[in-house]
Amino acid sequence: MVMNKRIKNFIAVVVFQSIFSLAVAQGVTEDDYYRIVTIPAPENVLLEVGGVATLPDGRIALCTRRGDVWVIENPGNENNHTPTYTLFASGLHEPLGLAYKDGSLYAAQRGELTKLSDTNGDGKADVYETVYAWPISGHYHEYSFGPKIDPAGNFFVSGNVAFGDEEWWRGESKRPMRGWVMKIHPDGTLEPWATGMRSPCGLGMIDGELFYDDNQGDWMGSGGIWHVKKGSFTGHPAGLKWTGVPNSPVKLTEEQFLAKIDERKVKKNGQYVKPENIVDEKPNFLYTMKKEFPELTLPSVWLPHGILGISNSEIIRDETAGKFGPFVGQIFVGDQGQSKIMRVVMEEVKGELQGVAFDFKSGFQSGVLRMNWGHDGSLFVGETNRGWGSAGTTNSGLQMLKWTGKVPMEMKTVRAMPDGFEIEFTRPVEKSKAEDLASYAGRSFIYKYHPVYGSPTVNEEKLNFKGVKVSADGMKVRIVIDNLRQYYLHEISLPGIRSTDGSSVLHPTAYYTLNNIPDGVKLLPSELSTKRSVSAIKATPVKTTATKSKAPTYAEIEPLLVKNTCTACHNVSKRQVGPAFTDIAKRKYANERIVQLIYNPEPKNWPEHETPMAPMPQVPRGEALKIAAWINSLNKEAAPNP
C-alpha cells in the first residue's frame, strides 16, 4: 500500500505538471478532465450491455443482449480489488434496458416488461414476472427499450419499428405499439403514450418528464432528443397505424398523414424503389408539417447526425451533486456508433423545452448504449456494437467515466436570447478575445422531413455576428446575431475564445435548436463590442492549397474531414462504422465518382458494414474533390494496368 500511495503521488505530480504545461501549450485533452476506466470482467462473461442499473447498496446491475443479468460488486475497482460478478438472472430475450425499483429489477425484453425478484434471498432472481406483454411480429428490428420509471412508479417502454419485406428500407409497425412509447402501470395496464418513433433506443426520465432520442433513418433527418408528452407524434409515420385504438392519445391517422405528405411508395418494373434524396426540391421540414399536424412534436434538441452521434442511446441527467464535475443537472446522451457521450442543456422557451448540445467525451472502447451513476459519482457506461458497428473497435464491455477533479474550459451552457445567445463558461474568458467578433463563427441549417434514409443539412446560412457583451466576471458572453431562424439548428463555434489562463474551449462548438426565439429585452447597440480583428482566426488552410494539383496531405485534409463529419464514421486505416479511407482507396474510384458517392452513397457497395451512409450533398464540391484526391492518394499500390 505504501508503494501504491507513492506511485499515486508520483502520477499525480506528473499529471498535474503535464496538465499545466499542456494547457499552456493548447494540448489539453478530454482525458485531463474525464478519464475512461475499463472495468475487468471474467473471461467467460460477455458484457454486451443492454441496460445498467445502480442498486441502493452501490452495486451495479447489467443486463446483456445475451439475456443475462449480472450484479457487480465493487464495480469501481476500488482498492485495486477486481469486481465480482454474480449472475442474477438469465435467459431474457435481448433485453435493452434495466431499472431498479423497490427491491426488484425491471427489464424490457423483446416482447414484454419483466420484473425480476429475488424472493428467497440467495442473490438470484427466482421470479420472472411478466408486468405487461406486447405483441411483436418476430422481425429482427423489433427491439424494445426501457423501462424508465416515473415518480409515480409507472414504466415507460419504447418499441422499434420493423422493416418491410420487399421495402426493406421502410419502417413498418406490424403490431400494435411498434413505433410507440408505452406507459405501463404497475398493475400491468397499458396506456399508449406517444408514437412517431423509429428506433427509440434512448429513453430518459428528467424531472418526471419523459425524453427519448432517435437516430437518422427513414423520416428521421438526424438524431435528436424529443420531449415526449402524452399524445406526441415525433415524426415516423409507421405507428400511426394504431391511432384508431380507443385509448390512443394520438388522433392523427395514417390517411390524414398520407393526404399531406408523399411517402414515395413507388413501383418500377413491378418492384418497389427505395426513395433517394432529391437534391432540387422544395422539401418538407418537421416544422412546416407541424402546421398540418399539430400533434407533431419537434425535437427539443437536434443531435446533428455525424457530428453529435449517429445512433443515439441513453439519456441521463447529472444527479451527482457535483461529484461528476461542473455540469450538475445537465444531460448526457450516449452514442453507440461513435462510441462517445454528448452533453445537452435544455431551457424552457415559450412553454417548450429546447436547448443546446455539445461534444463531451469520446474514445470509449465500444458502442455506448447505456449509462448510470455509481455512488461515487462516476458514470458507468455499458457498451456493445455487435451487428451495429462502432468507432470503438472492441465488441462489448463495461467502462467507467470518472471526473479527474479538474474543470475543463467549456461552454457550460448556451441560452437563447431575443437577439442571439448567451454563452456561459465554466471558467472566465479573456475579455479581449471574447469581445472580438472574429473569435466567433457559426451557421444555421435544418434537416428535411422525408421518407429517405437520413437527410443532408439544407438551407445552410452563415450566422451574422453583430456584437458581443462580456459579463464583468468573464463567465458569460452575450452574442448578438441578426439572422436567427426559428426552428433551425444554430452551430456556434468559438475558435478564438480563451480562458483567462490561455486555454481554448475544449469542445468549441455548440449546436442550439432554436424552436422558439424568446421575447424580451434586446441589448442596446451601445452595450456591444463590435470589434472584429482580422488576425484572430483565418479560414482553414484549405483555400491556400486549393489550386495545387498534387494530392493534399493529411494535415491539410483533416480539418475538412472533421468539418464535414467524415471522421464521425471513417478512420484513415481502421474499419469503424464505415470503411477505412485506405479501403476506399483500394476501390480505385475516380475522384468524380467519390464525390458522387459522397452525395449519393451506395451502401450496397459495402455489404459488410451495417449502418448505411447518409447522403452528404452539403459537402461543398471543391472540398469533396479534395477529399477524394486525398483518399485516392492513400492507395500505395501500383497504378492500374495500362
Partner: protein, 625 residues
C-alpha cells in the same frame, strides 16, 4: 458464396418411389416380409418379453439380440391388409433379409421406419454397409450399434476389422412411431484393374431431421453383408432376422459422377467500366490466351474489367442438363449459339441456374462477364449436372474458392441446472409461424422443451443438445434459436379455453383482457420454471418436467381457483389421425404419444383430430416420443 453440395442440388428433382403396392421391387423371400395397409405397434410390449411366454427358440450362434415369433395374445405388432407399408414379422423359420432386385452405386435414399420395442434391423447399402435400425429410444450416449450407427464388422484379421461409427447424436423416437431416415451414399471407386481407389462414403445420414453422419468413409464392409467383398454396385438389403420392422415412403435416386467435360477454353480480357457486354466483341483485348480449366484467375484487374471465355462442352448422353453459373458482375452465357443466361449488371454477385435438354455431342459455349463493383473479387463457377449426376465443377478451385470468413456457431448447452432462454422459435421451422414469446427450457437430463408464453402452450419437445443460438446472437441476429435435436412440435394455439360446445374450436389466442401471461417462478428445489397465466380469472400454473428416465415430458396444469363454471377444455394434441392404444395412450399421427391422467376424447374440428379433456380441476398428461 459457398459451393453447393450435391444433396442440395439433387433435392430439386423428385426421387423414384420404391412401390410398396407389392413386392415386385424385391427378390423372393420366405414370407416374413409382406405388404400391408397400416401397422400399429404397441409401445408397451417388448418383443423380448414374449420370449418368456413362448417356448424358448434358440438361435445361439447369432451375435445380436435374440428374438422369436410374435406370439398371441401379446401382440407387439398388428396390421391391416392393404398397400403402402413393407412389414417384416419374422419367426424361427421365416427370417430372411429382403433384397432389392435393382442394384445401386451412388444413391440417395429416404424412408420412414417403425420398430417395436426391443426390435433390431438394419439397412445395408449395396448389401454391404449397414446403417443400424434399433429401438434406441432414450439412449443418451449412442453407439455404433444404436439406430443410425454405421455397424461394425466381426473380422479377426486386423487388416479387415472395421469398428463402426456411432451417430453424432441420438434423435431416436419411441417404439411404434414413424422415424424418417435420409441417406446419401457413395459407392467405393475402383480403377480399371478392379483395385479400390476410394472408400464407400456416407455423404450424410439424417435421422428424424437431424444429421448423424456427415461425410464419413466406410473402409470395409460392415457385419453380415450380402457378400463379404466390395463392388461398384449392390442391392439394398434390409435385415429381417432380428425382429419386426416396418418401412414406408421408400424412395431413392441413383446418382453417378458426371462425364461432362469442357475443352478448348480460350479467353480474352478487357479493361474498362463496362455497362454491358455489347462492346466486348469490338474492343481490342488486353490479353488473350488459353487455359486448361475455366478460371477467373486469368483476370489481372480486381475491378472494371470485361472477360470473354469460349470453349466446348461435351455432353456424354441425352438428358436434361442444369448449368449453374455463379459470377461476380454482369454475365451473358451462350450455349450452342443460344443465350441461356443474360444479366448485364456489373454490381451483382449472382448464381444463375438454367436447364436445357441436350443430346449427346459437343457444343460451343461462351461466357461474357464484366464487373464494376469493387467490393467483390473476380469469381466464376460453372457446374453442370443432371437429375442423376452430381454437379461437375468445370472451373479451377481458385476461380470460386470457399468463403474465408465462415461463421462460428453459438451453441448453448445445459449445465448442472436447467437453462432457460427466451427467443423467437419458428414453429416446425416455418418463419411464417414464428412464436414470439417463447422460451426454451433445457434440462440437465437432455430432455428439453419450448413453451409459448403467449398462449400457455407446450409447443415443442426434444432430446439431445439444447439450442443453436447462432441465428439470434451472430451479428445483429434475428431473435430466434433452433432446437438441436429431433424437435417434436405439437400445435400452436392456446390449449385452455372455455368452449360453448364440445365441437367449438379453440381460439388461436385469447384477447388481452382474457389471457395474461404472468411469467414464471423458479422452483427452488429443481431450478425449473413454473409458468403462470391468468385465463378468464382462472389462475393457472404450468409445470413441465422430464419423466420416465427422461424419455418423456409430463405437463401438469394446476388451476388454483377452478370454481364451478363448466365448459372448460384443454387440448392435449392435434393431428390428422389419433388412435387409442391398448394401454390407454394415444398415438398422434404415429409421431408421438399422449398419456392423459384424466379421460380424454378425440374430436374433429375443422378437419383435424383433436385430443381434448374436460377440465374438472387440473390437467396432467405426458408426451412420449
Amino acid at each position: 458464396m459457398v459451393l453447393l453440395s450435391a444433396c442440395a442440388y439433387a433435392q430439386e428433382t423428385p426421387l423414384k418411389v420404391i412401390s410398396l403396392d407389392d413386392l415386385s421391387f424385391f427378390k423372393p423371400q420366405t414370407g416374413n416380409w409382406q405388404i400391408v395397409g397400416d401397422v400399429t405397434m404397441n409401445p408397451g410390449i417388448d418383443i423380448h418379453q414374449q420370449v418368456i411366454k413362448a417356448p424358448a427358440g434358440a438361435d445361439k450362434k447369432n451375435k445380436k439380440s435374440k428374438t422369436v415369433p410374435v406370439a398371441e395374445p401379446l401382440k407387439a405388432v398388428t396390421f391391416v391388409a392393404g398397400k403402402g407399408i413393407l412389414l417384416n414379422i419374422n419367426d424361427e423359420v421365416k427370417k430372411d433379409h429382403i433384397i432389392t432386385t435393382f442394384e445401386h452405386g451412388d444413391i440417395e435414399l429416404e424412408l420412414e421406419v417403425m420398430l417395436p420395442k426391443g426390435s433390431n434391423s438394419g439397412i445395408y447399402l449395396q448389401g454391404r454397409y449397414e446403417v443400424q435400425l434399433l429401438d434406441s429410444w432414450g439412449v443418451k450416449n449412442p453407439k455404433y450399434s444404436d439406430i443410425g450407427g454405421i455397424y461394425r464388422n466381426w473380422e479377426t484379421d486386423p487388416a479387415k476389422i472395421y469398428m463402426g461409427k456411432a451417430p453424432l447424436s441420438n434423435p431416436a423416437k419411441a417404439p411404434g412411431l414413424w422415424q424418417t431416415l435420409k441417406i446419401s451414399f457413395q459407392a467405393p471407386r475402383f480403377d480399371a484393374a478392379g483395385k479400390k481407389i476410394a472408400n464407400a462414403r456416407f455423404e450424410y445420414v439424417e435421422l428424424n431431421g437431424v444429421r448423424i453422419h456427415d461425410n464419413v468413409e466406410v473402409p470395409l464392409p460392415t457385419g453380415g453383408p450380402v457378400e463379404n467383398n466390395e463392388k461398384p454396385t449392390g442391392p439394398i438389403m434390409i435385415q429381417g432376422d432380428h425382429g419386426p420392422v416396418a418401412i414406408r415412403n421408400f424412395r431413392y435416386r441413383l446418382m453417378e459422377e458426371s462425364k461432362v467435360t469442357a475443352s478448348e477454353i480460350t479467353y480474352k480480357t478487357y479493361s474498362g467500366e463496362f455497362q454491358d457486354v455489347s462492346s466486348l466483341s469490338t474492343l481490342k483485348p488486353v490479353k488473350t490466351g488459353t487455359t486448361p480449366q475455366l478460371t477467373a484467375e486469368i483476370i489481372d484487374d480486381e475491378n472494371n474489367y470485361g472477360v470473354v471465355y469460349s470453349g466446348s462442352i461435351t455432353i456424354p448422353v441425352d438428358d436434361t442438363y442444369q448449368f449453374v453459373l455463379a459470377t461476380t458482375g454482369g454475365t451473358v452465357m451462350k450455349l450452342n449459339g443460344e443465350t441461356i443466361i443474360d444479366l448485364q449488371r456489373g454490381d451483382v454477385w449472382r448464381t444463375h441456374k438454367v436447364s436445357r435438354k441436350l443430346s449427346a455431342g459437343t457444343y460451343p459455349f461462351e461466357i461474357l462477364n464484366f464487373k464494376t463493383a469493387s467490393w467483390m473479387p473476380p469469381r466464376l463457377r460453372l457446374a453442370v449436372s443432371t437429375p442423376s449426376t452430381y454437379p461437375k465443377e468445370l472451373q479451377a478451385f481458385n476461380s470460386y474458392p470457399p468463403s474465408d470468413n465462415p461463421t462460428s456457431p453459438i451453441l448453448i448447452g445445459v449445465g448442472n441446472e436447467p437453462r432457460l432462454l427466451r427467443a423467437f422459435v419458428d414453429f416446425k421451422g416455418d418463419r411464417n409461424q414464428r412464436l414470439t414469446h417463447s422460451i426454451g427450457v433445457g434440462d440437465p437430463s437432455g430432455t428439453h422443451y419450448v413453451y409459448d408464453m403467449e398462449t400457455g402452450n407446450l409447443a415443442c419437445v426434444w432430446r439431445g443438445q439444447f439450442v443453436d443460438a447462432t441465428p439470434m446472437w451472430h451479428d445483429r441476429g434475428d431473435g430466434s434459436f433452433k432446437p438441436r435435436g429431433a424437435a417434436q412440435f405439437t400445435f400452436m394455439n392456446q390449449p385452455l379455453a372455455f368452449l360453448s360446445s364440445p365441437i367449438q374450436a379453440f381460439p388461436a389466442m385469447s384477447k388481452e383482457s382474457e389471457f395474461r401471461t404472468k411469467g414464471y417462478a423458479i422452483e427452488e428445489s429443481t431450478g425449473r420454471p413454473v409458468f403462470k397465466y391468468v385465463y378468464q380469472g382462472l389462475e393457472v400454473e404450468d409445470k413441465i418436467y422430464p419423466d420416465d428416465q427422461d424419455r418423456s415430458i409430463t405437463h401438469e396444469v394446476v388451476i388454483k381457483n377452478r370454481g364451478t363454471k363448466t365448459g372448460l377444455y384443454y387440448k392435449l394434441a392435434e393431428g390428422s389421425s389419433i388412435i387409442t392404444l391398448p394401454d390407454g395412450s394415444y398415438a398422434i399421427d404415429k409421431q408421438f404419444y399422449i398419456k392423459s391422467g384424466t379421460p380424454a376424447t378425440v374430436r374433429e374440428v375443422n378437419g383435424k383430430k383433436e385430443l381434448v379433456v374436460v377440465v374438472e380441476s387440473n390437467v396432467k398428461y405426458t408426451i412420449i416420443w
